[in-house]
Symmetry: C2
Subunit: 608 residues, 2 copies
């Protein structure tokens, strides 16, 4: 027979990147020190190649998301340079690409819009301050290892929020396709505002916007299959399809120039300041910070959740790992870098990260090279974008975000879990009707409320002995053997403050139901922990049962739980005993009362 192996001997690398046991504290906080040591020429080639592809994709996307955030397009470029550098130094994902993303841009527009009108200096200042606040919050959460707070956003809440945000974003861009002015940061306001101006639509703008939207939809859904059918290799077809927005941008610029559409009322990007991002100082105005901290916190958490799930998905494909708490620091550094270079809140985006990954990026250096690419674009390409129609950017946004709208999830949730369905629908409805901030907060609140409700009603069962065995099972599900003066209760959860009061009520009610009970056995085989409130409830149960002349006994208490109970006076005060096994407890206590109840078991068989 083989010797039993100890599996831990086979685990040479138990540390995640950024939690380096070898490199110590510095490597933990600066993951670049780990991957940087083994950087070489072939990795460099791959990273450079990926950077070029991502740069081409990022330029129109950055402009478009800045537009969505209500900011000058160049701010989108600014937010795509230094933040990428910062993430390359502090981030733990090898392939995550940070920058402006749709949902965070919408949240920025909503928060900054509450401070000032779009286009004013105060609006831009609010957006920069949001990035600074969000960066500081993320970094603090990371240093305090509080990443677990993101757990408060359950999957149904996140997917509801993303769906509703996608609808809000697409609606918000309709005005650019129509060439009208409209506002609002929730559906009723947006639709009301659009309804009032839809008849003023500019036909030339429509003539750009509608074909651009249809083209981008086709590129997204139909181009790749068509190219593959025509014999293009799938990998190339995929890249061409992803370049669709660049084609739309180039084509509409040319059309605007040829037909002089800017003079016919088509909004264009216009003059973009040429050069590198300016050094900016975020506001230290306390009243502004007081107004912005709640949206900044929500942006931080939503951004972190989105980024971490992208990073984890990509890391798993190559059996790499990320360190979520260090990711908070990486995203925090990115946002602080964004604020100091005149940008707005950024996070890791799915589309760009997937392109980066597919294009073969191997290290965060690819992100740094992309930053250089965007910086070159900011220095030299901006004059080319003068005639870019806003409607084209709106079309790229609409096409991108409508893929976020997920209509299958509600039905799946309805089938699987009504509570999760409720949290999902509440998030969608409140986000659509009352805006993004209230939507996220309500989703978290509904989810937590439902969780606490379930946690306060844990499972427990009155058990009896299965005949001819030493096993004890729920009396309601099995034909089991019990005696009237002994009540055996199996507790199926840890005892914490959320369910401690429930345990008191449960035991008291069960005892009140059965006048003959003289002993209560609490079977603790599933109790992993008893917190101070749980202990106090056990004490209360013990005192109340003692007053009523009833013994309280424990059985099958786990080792670590027993160790802690021994540090208290509870075991001395217990009006009963602690038994190693439920079977022994039941056998001993059911004998105790043989005189005044009928003798319901067969002593000779000795099984009880």
């Amino acid at each position: 027979m083989p010797e039993p192996e100890n599996e831990s001997a086979e685990q040479p690398r138990l540390t995640a990147p950024g939690q380096g046991a070898r490199g110590g504290l510095l490597t933990q906080y600066l993951p670049i020190l780990e991957w940087g040591r083994t950087y070489n020429g072939s990795v460099l080639t791959n990273d450079l190649m990926a950077a070029i592809i991502v740069t081409i994709m990022l330029i129109p996307q950055s402009l478009a998301y800045a537009l969505l955030a209500g900011l000058p397009p160049v701010v989108g470029l600014y937010a795509s340079i230094l933040p990428l550098m910062a993430y390359a130094i502090f981030g733990t994902s090898r392939t995550l690409a940070v920058g402006p993303v749709a949902v965070v841009s919408l949240m920025t527009a909503s928060a900054a819009g509450a401070i000032a009108a779009q286009g004013t200096a105060e609006y831009l200042e609010a957006a920069i301050t949001l990035a600074a606040l969000s960066g500081v919050m993320l970094a603090i959460l990371g240093m305090l290892r509080l990443g677990f707070l993101a757990n408060l956003l359950s999957h149904p809440v996140i997917s509801g929020f993303i769906t509703a945000s996608g609808l809000l974003i697409a609606t918000s861009q309709l005005k650019h396709i129509l060439g009208v002015q409209a506002g609002g940061d929730n559906w009723p306001d947006m639709l009301g505002s659009l309804a009032g101006v839809v008849l003023n639509a500019n036909p030339w703008t429509l003539a750009i916007g509608i074909p651009a939207t249809l083209f981008l939809f086709w590129v997204r859904k139909g181009a790749k299959p068509a190219l593959v059918a025509a014999g293009t290799p799938p990998r190339i077809a995929d890249m061409v399809a992803k370049a669709g927005p660049v084609v739309a941008v180039a084509a509409t610029i040319v059309i605007v120039m040829l037909l002089d559409l800017a003079d016919k009322g088509v909004s264009i990007v216009g003059a973009i300041p040429k050069g590198l991002p300016p050094f900016a100082l975020p506001s230290t105005d306390l009243s502004l910070i007081e107004q912005l901290w709640v949206p900044a916190l929500l942006i931080s958490i939503i951004g972190f959740v989105e980024s971490v799930s992208v990073a984890q998905t990509l890391a798993a494909k190559r059996r790499q790992r990320i360190a979520p708490d260090q990711e908070l620091i990486g995203l925090g550094a990115s946002n602080i870098a964004s604020a100091f270079s005149g940008g707005y809140p950024v996070t890791g985006g799915f589309a760009r990260s997937a392109v980066n990954f597919d294009a073969g990026a191997e290290t965060p250096a690819a992100g740094a090279f992309t930053a250089v690419g965007i910086a070159l674009a900011a220095l030299f390409l901006t004059p080319l974008l003068f005639n870019l129609p806003i409607a084209t950017l709106a079309a790229t946004i609409i096409v991108a975000v409508l893929s976020l709208v997920d209509l299958k999830t509600p039905r799946q949730l309805w089938n699987y879990s009504k509570a999760d369905f409720a949290a999902h629908m509440a998030t969608i409805l409140i986000t659509l009707l009352a805006g993004v901030e209230l939507g996220v907060i309500s989703g978290v609140a509904v989810g937590l409320l439902l969780y606490l409700w379930r946690a306060s009603r844990p499972h427990a069962a009155i058990v009896g002995r299965v005949p001819d065995t030493e096993h004890f099972r729920n009396v309601e599900r099995h034909d089991v053997f019990t005696v009237p003066h002994v009540l055996s209760i199996r507790i199926d959860e840890s005892l914490t403050y959320l369910n401690a009061r429930w345990l008191e009520e449960y035991v008291l009610e069960r005892v009140a139901d059965q006048a003959q009970v003289r002993h209560v056995i609490l079977m603790c085989s599933a109790v992993n922990e008893i917190d101070a409130s749980g202990l106090e409830s056990l004490e209360a149960i013990n005192h109340r049962m003692s007053d009523a002349g009833i013994g309280v006994h424990l059985s099958e208490v786990k080792g670590p739980v027993m160790d802690r109970l021994k540090r208290t006076e509870f075991l001395d005060e217990l009006n009963g005993k602690v038994f190693l096994s439920q079977n022994r407890a039941f056998r001993e206590l059911s004998r105790d009362d043989g005189s005044d109840t009928c003798e319901p078991y067969d002593m000779a068989r000795g099984m009880i």
Copy 2:
């Protein structure tokens, strides 16, 4: 051998009072219909006797707590009449006595003090509005069955809050003992305010206040033993000791009258309006409601928690039950009644309920009779209280609340649970330094944060087979048998959104650690529930493992959990199998890879 019995056959009364299956909805909401049907002469005698004793105790207590709340003393009497009637109709405890209590009076003073100065009509209006808001909130919580929200207050937070409140209350009364004016609703403010005026103390007030305090301390601690030693029956000695405040009140009234102390600067109660409570309408001023709803909610929850624990303790002694959700309705009705009769927030108090219980009260009718007693006092006795020194009332408060200060708990918590100790100390410190409202909120927040932190890191273990058995145990604690290409992970908690992300990280890290892994078995024997987020994490794990060419298998999934999984596409997409037993899963999967790893087990023995 006896037939196995089904215990449920022995449970004729599974319904709690106020949850009557017999009486239906009306009995559920009006428990008086249940106990009223069997009311008879002997019960009447007992209830009347208890009511007389409680009335005598309540008169000075009601005046004192109104003083603590910063209200005219007569308001304390008003709050002790209609609320008791309302509780008698709607409450489920047979012996709970509602009325003004110390902690709620302090919270009322803090909330109303933020609106207006003590003694003004606005202050009184705020207190009445607090009672109305709190009553409506309690009733709504009760009708929505949201009593579980009180669970958010863990025992360490409650005891920390009570200790700190006791210290704050005792400090707030020092000014009355000294005969000076002082303010503040936290320790730094109170002590600073007192320090500025302590030299102005009135010697005559001190001459009343200090002896009264010492006498009441002695009555509380020393009188009963002394009387028992002198041959008095313990029950009578106990009653005499409890009448101590009445003695102090009578004696100091006589002293004030004899020495004409009111003219020498001793504050007295003065003229109390004679008669029954006026009919009052709570404010419907929306801005006042907006300012008061948070403190009203905190008062409701603190009051409910205090009341329910008293009611449960007393009910258990007689094997009676209470229905917590109906208790919310009972307390809600009491507070609404208080508001409409010019009173302030009330709840079930420990001291008076214990006296009521000990004096032999059998039904809530005793409370109604007490209300009649207090009403008679309000009609005829108030002139007798004209010369009652405020210092005497302050002395009764100080002596009563110092017994709330609990110095043993911190040490016990430190020994038992550092997390609970942290929540306890945070509550004490923030309550003392920043007042009652922030204290409660911080306590709840710290407790929830620590809970969520633990919930996000549930227990799981890599397991291996114990040689010569079919049992699987933690590889870190036992010498067990494993094979390098099969990773068995036992999950020790239900999979909910709070720990779903953790599971993804845990599985990904364990797989990243072991390059040879080709199969992961998730052993689900302790998983009672998988919510939608948990399911999505399982799907993510499955996709990521599939991408890496690793099979994902489940073992020992519970019946109800499996039933729900079958309603999803997860089982179709699973890149592996579901095994009934972990042993079968391990046996089959470890064989799968016999060729390229060494054969570490003995096929002939057939144990794997």
